[in-house]
Amino acid sequence: GAGVSQSPSNKVTEKGKDVELRCDPISGHTALYWYRQRLGQGLEFLIYFQGNSAPDKSGLPSDRFSAERTGGSVSTLTIQRTQQEDSAVYLCASSLPTLHTQYFGPGTRLTVL
């Protein structure tokens, strides 16, 4: 397959609803990252998966945010009880563990009304 893919590309939801964002990394990449980018800002690290190791969740902003990675491949970022401040582009990236270059997906633009 080509690069990292993410779905949906756009998501509009109402405040208080739960949303799930999906990321398909490049085949063979064992490291997967989620970032959040608010309008006009840089990227905020959210969570990092590396192989079978425990994920680094240090960037998750609250307990409403969670992520899982099934079978070492596809990852889902879940935001519960969405708030307006959750509106942002959510970017996923993957990489090989021994290399330092991250390959980014096109992102999911989340709008919470």
């Binding site: 690290f45 590396q50 680094d56 330092h100």
Partner: protein
């Protein structure tokens, strides 16, 4: 909080001119990378410079790293309208539990006028 801070926040130049963007960071790093982002979507990796390197070139790109000043610069020579984008520096820390993640700066918006 963002470790990297870029300046200027925005840069507007004419085609053919050179563009220089700067990045400063706070903690010890393993490497520093520059990424480009078009239209607020996916980022594209441009160049990586390791902590033991001082300068690196890739096509029209030149990156310098000064670890004593904790700063880096990205120079784009002979700019083109297609270089218009946001440019971010990102640092990878030197080991520890945060080894895998990148810490991004706020970015520089570059506009190249034809």
């Amino acid at each position: 909080s963002q470790q990297g801070e870029e300046d200027p926040q925005a840069l507007s130049i004419q085609e053919g001119e050179n563009a220089t963007m700067n990045c400063s960071y706070k903690t010890s790093i393993n490497n520093l990378q520059w990424y480009r982002q078009n239209s607020g979507r996916g980022l594209v990796h441009l160049i990586l410079i390791r902590s033991n390197e001082r300068e690196k070139h890739s096509g029209r790109l030149r990156v310098t790293l000064d670890t004593s000043k904790k700063s880096s610069s990205l120079l784009i020579t002979a700019s083109r309208a297609a270089d218009t984008a946001s440019y971010f520096c990102a640092t990878r820390t030197d080991g520890g539990t945060s080894y895998g993640k990148l810490t991004f700066g706020q970015g520089t918006i570059l506009t190249v006028h034809p």
